[in-house]
Symmetry: C2
Subunit: 189 residues, 2 copies
């Protein structure tokens, strides 16, 4: 998606260690116009799929998920990291975060996911695919159907897509980063 690619090249920063910083428009400050344009692209990509629920994971996935939910008039469920004590009965799995170098629990209440659901999962980043694999696990526990996964930005060199596609999942990303070494952002055409 050209609009997002241009924005990444204009406002994205490449930090040491292959970290892409998009704090000014996705991860800390949000640009609602860009967010809407990206979600319209997801509408287009998944328009032929029969979806009844959008799932994401807190915190940075919530903004694109709710804007997409708004456009499609569909409920949005966000998986919670570390179950609050108000959720008694939940599907649960553990996910390893490379960024924070620790494991955390991810849960969705059993009241909010069931075998009739046809899910589109939305998140800001696809890197190694650990969060996404965790979500696949939760959806399987609920016997729900995963229609596809949409990401704003994919780090193509971190192989998350391979894992997800091997699990039979349709993956769509709006911008793919090919390389971040040499502190330079190289995007896939």
């Amino acid at each position: 998606m050209q609009l997002l690619k241009n924005r990444i090249l204009k406002d994205g920063e490449c930090l040491e260690g292959g970290i892409l910083k998009v704090d000014h428009f996705i991860n800390h400050q949000l640009d609602p116009s860009l967010m809407k344009a990206m979600c319209v692209e997801f509408v287009r990509l998944f328009s032929s799929s029969n979806i009844n629920k959008i799932v994401t994971i807190e915190a940075s996935g919530i903004a694109p998920a709710i804007i997409l939910g708004y456009l499609l008039d569909l409920p949005v469920v966000f998986a919670k990291k570390n179950a609050p004590n108000t959720i008694k009965n939940a599907y649960s799995t553990r996910v390893h975060s490379f960024t924070k170098n620790k494991d955390y629990e991810v849960v969705i209440s059993k009241e909010l996911l069931n075998e009739e659901d046809r899910i589109l999962f939305i998140d800001d980043f696809l890197a190694y695919g650990n969060s996404a694999m965790g979500i696949i696990n939760l959806i399987e526990q609920a016997n729900a159907t995963l229609v596809g996964m949409g990401f704003l930005i994919e780090k193509g060199f971190q192989k998350g897509r391979e894992r997800l596609e091997k699990a039979g999942v349709r993956v769509e990303s709006l911008a793919i980063i090919e390389d971040l070494s040499n502190q330079q952002i190289v995007l896939k055409d």
Copy 2:
């Protein structure tokens, strides 16, 4: 706001210890139609204010904040709990969470808040006002102006409003809970 009040009475649950569970439409599953209607109400309430930025705090504040940002075409900044290592230079404060019974750090990058900003803060809940007081602190550090604070649900019996109004802040809540004892939800008219 009657639509929200009706929904709280219909789908809200009152758990032991005065906890209001609104997982089905605000805190875990989001209803985009309700979210939009609530944000339209914020537009109405703050329409005479000159706002250039919306601030919220992760995670449950992000959905109403981005929908409001979308309606008003304004950037949204969400304060982060526990600074990620990509944020080097930030306004920072500590907030005590009664729900989780621990302190956490709340930060906003110095690049995203400055003395020309006129801020509307949006969050899902106002209880004791600890998060909100933390945000006031960050806004003061940046010499920015706080135009007002809007909450979806206020727990009127936990006195957050008193603290914020004493600090000179305009507070607007779309529904006020007067009492949660006896496991019953009592709303203010």
